[in-house]
């Protein structure tokens, strides 16, 4: 029933999609396969960019911007920062596994998930009613629409996010505060490996 | 109308008014609870005070139940002294209690045995918690016998488990923990089915009348179809079969009886076993007449197997308490037989047997405890020739033994006689086989008696010579002995009170069955078309 909307899909769109999709998938695979966390982080950046492109491609300019700013600008940087801070930028033996079978299982199960979702969706992905929360097309700038809906329909969630951010702050404070070590007998296993820089 | 009827009417009405005067039954249940909470407030060192309170409370209960027996209107088959209060309307549970011929003497038995336990089988150490648990247990048992609400019954039925568990693990013998756990879990599994069945029945009743209640007086009128009835009845009976116990659900009982302290074994064998059989008579027969009649052969067979099996296995026991455990498996078999034979004689016989079995089993366990206090063992092989040293003990033991064998003139005979007579009329061949039990019981009991009391004097070490029963011990046993003889010689007063209720029950059963048959006949032509 929605096919009418995508009739306008043109060749450039397709090409963009193809490229972006490749970027996304490669990036994702990179995240998983690279042995060095730093590289994984960079691959993540790649994926996120690809996704931003796809956002733009789907007329979500605002989100694309936020995606780039928040993810690449904040999240990944934070990742890299932590990696460097903790000096764990060393290789992980990706292919030596702690216990056998895990990776095989993971592959099989992952495949199942993918197949199932696609099979379920493929017949007809979109069955919903259009424009319930408010139409997008011909409502002016993407930002306006989102902003409007944020401050009307989604006002409360918007406020709730503040609580979320407060939690984040407190969590950071509480957890990463340095304590004078007062080891209890519950660390016997740990002592050996404790090498504080 | 003539004077006699007039006078009886007056008398009855007088009885009613006197019955309403005071909530006897509620008091019976609540007095022990209050006493228990009172004891909780007493410091644990004031042993005498604690014990005094406990004794007074239990004796008070005995007094009240005596009053109840006095006020009980003989010849009235219905529930008497009923009191109803809504408890949890949302769940359809109500505090409704009452007594009828079937429960009357079980209440009396309970309220008699508990003072005896407190007097005769008292725990030396940790007096406080012992008294509290005993009193709570008494409340639980009385509650289950008195409650007319299926769920109240279940609550009390379950509530008895906690005190008995603590009694066992705190004052029991070596293997107590395992035995207690086995007993508890086994019973709990049983009551799981009971609970589900009860709720299911209540909802059936709701769907038919729109009223959600667990009051058996209403539930009786529920129309239960054949299969449902059978399933529900099995669910109920499983719980009771475990509690009684009925073969083959008995294997917890030898361990439990053996490991439990004297007090607990007395209550287990004397009172709590009756919870099961009482449940069968009260709920199975009353709520599922059709299924009962349908399944009667099965349970009759189980009962008979129990009688024979319990007897012959008892004959092979080396531990005195285990022997008693199996003997009461055999006696429970008689009760089941009577209950499911569904004749007036057999069912009243079953009810009487519950009372009688309570009396002589309690006496047996008391005597065993007394033997233990002298010889420090339950092993039959290690007990010899007590009769020479303790003739009085031997005499009383003999009497109780004969009662349990079922010698006429003692109470044991009355129940067995009625049960067998009634069963013979309805299900001849089961009765014929069951009579074997009469022989077998003599075999194992006499064997045990010979081992323990006969044969030559044992070598008593001069430090601690074996002494005969002390005055206190005699005082504890006297009431039981008196009742054992009295009920054997003149059971009529008891039966007269039991009779009407039982007849009403039997009539109800057969009525429902008849109506079912009628419906079936009415339906069959329709099916034909």
């Amino acid at each position: 029933m929605m096919s009418g909307l995508v009739a306008s899909a043109t060749l450039p769109d397709s090409i963009t999609f193809a490229i972006a999709a490749v970027i996304v998938v490669l990036g994702a695979l990179g995240v998983v396969l690279y042995r060095n966390p730093v590289h994984s982080a960079l691959m993540l950046v790649m994926t996120l960019f690809g996704i931003a492109v796809l956002f733009v491609e789907q007329d979500a300019q605002f989100l694309a911007a936020v995606q780039v700013i928040v993810y690449t600008g904040a999240v990944v940087v934070l990742f890299l920062f932590v990696i460097m801070l903790l000096g764990v930028d060393r290789k992980e033996a990706v292919f030596a596994d702690t216990f056998k079978g895990q990776r095989l299982f993971a592959g099989v199960v992952g495949l199942c998930v993918l197949v199932e979702i696609i099979v379920l969706g493929s017949r007809n992905w979109t069955t919903g009613a259009p424009s319930v929360a408010g139409a997008m097309k011909n409502q002016g700038a993407n930002v306006n629409v989102i902003g409007k809906s944020l401050f009307t329909t989604y006002l409360l969630p918007f406020e709730v996010t503040s609580a979320l951010l407060v939690v984040a702050v407190i969590a950071a404070v509480v957890l990463s505060r340095r304590h004078e070590e007062r080891p209890t007998e519950f660390e016997d296993e740990q002592r050996t490996t404790e090498l504080m820089p | 109308m003539d004077h006699q009827t007039l006078s009886t009417v007056l008398q009855v009405s007088g009885a009613i008014s006197r019955q309403q005067a005071f909530p006897f039954l509620t008091a019976i249940i609540l007095v022990p609870v209050f006493a228990a909470s009172l004891i909780l407030a007493i410091p644990r060192d004031a042993r005498r005070l604690i014990r005094g309170v406990a004794l007074v409370a239990s004796v008070a209960v005995l007094g009240i139940s005596a009053a109840v027996i006095d006020l009980f209107r003989t010849g009235d088959g219905g529930y008497q002294m009923v009191s109803n209060h809504m408890w949890a309307p949302g769940l359809g549970i109500s505090w409704s209690i009452g007594v009828d011929g079937i429960s009357l003497f079980l209440v009396a038995l309970t309220s008699l045995l508990f003072p005896l336990v407190l007097f005769g089988a008292y725990a030396r150490q940790n007096t406080k918690s012992f008294s509290v648990w005993i009193l709570l247990l008494e409340a639980g048992c009385l509650g289950s016998f008195l409650s007319l609400d299926l769920l109240m019954f279940f609550l009390f039925f379950e509530a008895t488990l906690v005190p008995i568990y603590f009694l066992m693990v705190s004052w029991g013998h070596e293997g107590r923990n395992r035995a207690a756990m086995k007993f508890l879990v086994y019973t709990f599994v049983g009551s799981a089915f009971l609970l589900v069945g009860a709720i299911a029945l209540a909802f059936m009743h709701q769907s038919q009348t729109g009223l959600l209640t667990f009051d058996i007086r209403s539930l009786v009128h529920t129309h239960v179809s054949g299969t449902e009835g059978v399933l529900l009845m099995l669910a109920f009976t499983f719980a009771f079969a475990v509690k009684a116990p009925i073969w083959p659900f008995h294997t917890w009982s030898p361990d439990t009886y053996a490991e439990a302290p004297a007090s607990a074994s007395i209550i287990l064998g004397g009172v709590m076993a009756k919870l099961g059989t009482y449940g069968i008579v009260r709920f199975d027969l009353e709520l599922f007449p059709h299924a009962t009649i349908l399944l009667a052969p099965l349970f009759l067979t189980l009962g008979v197997i129990g009688i024979i099996y319990g007897g012959i296995v008892a004959a092979q026991q080396r531990d005195l308490k285990r022997l008693v455990a199996f003997s009461s498996l055999s006696h429970m078999g008689f009760i089941v037989l009577g209950a499911f034979a569904l004749t007036g004689e057999s069912v009243s016989g079953a009810v009487v047997e519950m009372l009688n079995h309570g009396l002589y089993t309690a006496a047996l366990f008391l005597l065993i405890a007394m033997i233990y206090s002298r010889r420090r063992t339950f092993e039959i092989a290690r007990l010899r020739g007590l009769q020479g040293a303790a003739p009085v003990m031997a005499g009383i033991f003999t009497l109780v033994m004969l009662a349990s064998i079922g010698v006429p003139g003692l109470n044991g005979f009355v129940g067995e006689f009625l049960i067998l007579a009634g069963t013979f009329a309805a299900h001849r061949w089961w009765a014929v086989v069951a009579v074997l039990g009469v022989v077998i019981s003599a075999v194992y009991m006499l064997w045990a008696y010979q081992q323990i009391f006969h044969a030559s004097q044992p070598m008593t070490d001069p430090k601690e010579p074996l002494r005969d029963l002390t005055t206190r011990e005699r005082l504890v046993l006297v009431p039981l002995v008196v009742l054992i003889v009295a009920l054997g010689v003149y059971p009529k007063p008891v039966l007269d009170r039991i009779e009407p209720a039982v007849n009403q029950l039997i009539m109800h059963v057969h009525q429902v069955e008849a109506t079912n048959a009628l419906n079936a006949n009415a339906l069959s032509p329709l099916e034909g078309r």
């Binding site: 979702i117 379920l120 969706g121 007809n124 979109t126 069955t127 919903g128 009613a129 319930v132 929360a133 409502q139 002016g140 700038a141 306006n144 629409v145 902003g147 409007k148 401050f151 009307t152 329909t153 989604y154 006002l155 409360l156 969630p157 709730v160 609580a163 979320l164 407060v166 939690v167 984040a168 969590a171 404070v173 209890t184 519950f186 296993e189 740990q190 | 949890a88 949302g90 769940l91 279940f154 609550l155 379950e158 509530a159 906690v162 693990v169 705190s170 070596e174 293997g175 107590r176 923990n177 756990m181 508890l184 879990v185 599994v189 799981a192 609970l195 589900v196 709720i199 209540a202 909802f203």
Partner: protein, 499 residues
């Protein structure tokens, strides 16, 4: 064309007052932390938290009054429901927030985890739990879920002296965010399938039109089920809970367990009965399986546990199974029974873990089963209290534990699902074993006759705070066990919306 100037929706503050009180109180505490010197008695913060909780309790009761008067309504642009259900949960959460600080205070003091962090986090996640019960939009539920969980991750890691605490936090966080990622993907698919995330609209949409190829919708539902099942620790999504309960600081575990279950179940019921009633025939088998698995696995694995906290973790998995029975029943009776169960569970679990915290403190953090040996002798009162909680969980008569089990089972039977009812009761019978094993160790001194010995030497002394907290829990457990009518009526009123 320019965006027309929009008007902010009318905000009915009373409708969200309890949440606002909690968050506001949280900010107050934060301010205090900033201005007040470091070595400030943590118990004061506890006191403040209690008063905040009390305030929100009062406001939710007021709200209850409004609801009973004016009937249920929706507020703040139809995004929160104010009905019996949400108010019941508000009341429950507020009361948890009153009791939890008392129980934690003593512990935190002892571990000298100073400051107000714990209380702040508790308040926030309390607010989250309330929102989960109230919200009328999947997005808001997702946010609330995060607001509920993230503080819990932190609390799990609060005891920085313990390796296990950090590990617990890590596991809880990784798996939690993993599951919420799955959850949000589920929301996305559902959104695609129905065109909206608003619960009311979803149910309306599904009621109005039949979806010829419901693949996307089903996928979405499945993924959301995973999200909820994880939060309520239903098998097979339960595996985090034993580890987290064991690693997390004892004083807080009770709160974590209670609040997570409350929030999770609130949202579960809200979504599945509120939004997807028309699909009941499709998802109820899944819930049935989850319930069965939780009942069985929880009870069975608990049998083999030697650590009290792990044992209780598994037993609460078993409890989750019981609460799911209410959803299996798919009736207002079912919802009411689940709510009643949640209520009784919350207090029992709070109390149990508080007792464990005390014991663990007395023998250096160990919470093995032997650590309660002879507790009944050394400090009878504490032993009795613990025994009461354990017996209540086992479903002993005259405690809320029994009535709760009875209520849910009866709901299941009312819905003619006898099999699961019997199964539930049998699992309860199995559960009796491990509860009583603890009681046995406490009172008879030994689990097996050979191993006689005393672990708890001197009588255990605990702070006033803990005692008062425990007494409240015991009260709630016994009073509503003997006189259940008010609570039951409340629960039934709370479930009326689902007719």
């Amino acid at each position: 064309m320019l965006a027309s100037a929009f008007v902010l929706p009318v905000i009915d503050y009373t409708a969200i007052l309890p949440e606002l009180i909690l968050l506001g109180g949280m900010l107050v505490l934060l301010g205090l932390v900033a201005v007040i010197p470091k070595d400030f008695a943590t118990t004061t913060y506890a006191g403040l938290t209690m008063s905040i909780g009390t305030a929100s309790l009062v406001s939710s009761l007021v709200l209850w009054h409004d609801v009973t008067k004016g009937g249920p309504f929706q507020a703040v642009a139809q995004i929160v429901n104010v009905d019996g259900f949400s108010v019941f949960l508000m009341v429950l959460v507020s009361s948890i927030l009153i009791v939890a600080p008392m129980l934690a205070a003593g512990y935190l003091e002892n571990e000298d985890i100073q400051g107000a962090e714990y209380y702040i986090l508790a308040l926030i996640s309390g607010a989250g739990a309330m929102l989960m019960g109230a919200s009328n939009d999947l997005i808001l539920i997702f946010l609330a879920l995060e607001v509920l969980s993230i503080p819990l991750y932190v609390i799990a890691g609060l005891n920085f002296r313990r390796a296990t605490s950090g590990e617990a936090a890590m596991k809880y966080f990784l798996l939690g965010s993993f599951s919420s990622a799955i959850f949000v993907y589920g929301i996305a698919l559902t959104y695609g399938a129905t065109g909206t995330t608003n619960i009311g609209s979803i149910s309306g949409f599904l009621a109005r039109n039949v979806i010829s190829s419901p693949g996307t919708l089903y996928a979405g539902v499945a993924l959301m089920v995973v999200g909820f099942a994880f939060k309520i620790a239903a098998v097979p999504f339960h595996m985090w809970s034993p580890d987290v309960y064991e690693g997390a600081p004892e004083g807080a575990v009770g709160f974590m367990a209670a609040i997570a279950k409350v929030g999770g179940f609130a949202a579960l019921f809200r979504v599945f009965i509120g939004a997807l009633p028309t699909l009941a025939s499709v998802w109820s088998p899944v819930v049935w399986i989850l319930a069965v698995l939780s009942l069985v696995v929880g009870a069975v694995i608990a049998l083999s546990q030697r650590n009290l906290k792990r044992m209780l973790a598994y037993s609460s998995i078993n409890h989750a199974g019981f609460i799911l029975l209410g959803l299996v029943a798919l009736s207002s009776r079912g919802v009411a029974s689940s709510l009643y169960y949640l209520f009784s569970y919350s207090f029992v679990v709070l109390g149990s873990f508080a007792v464990i915290a005390v014991i663990a403190r007395d023998n250096g953090g160990g919470s093995e089963i032997d650590s309660v040996r002879n507790l009944g002798r050394c400090s009878p009162l504490l032993g009795t209290v613990f025994a009461i909680f354990l017996l209540a969980q086992a479903g002993a008569p005259f405690t809320t534990g029994f009535l709760a089990k009875f209520y849910v089972v009866s709901a299941a039977i009312d819905a003619h699902s006898y099999a699961i009812a019997v199964l539930a009761m049998l699992s309860a019978a199995v559960a009796v074993v491990f509860y009583l094993r603890v009681v046995l160790v406490m009172f008879s001194g030994s689990e097996s006759p050979e191993a006689i010995g005393s672990a708890v030497g001197q009588p255990v002394v605990t702070s006033r705070w803990v005692w008062s907290g425990l007494s409240i829990c015991v009260m709630a457990t016994l009073v509503f066990g003997v006189w259940p009518s008010p609570l039951i009526d409340f629960a039934r009123a709370a479930s009326l919306i689902f007719h």
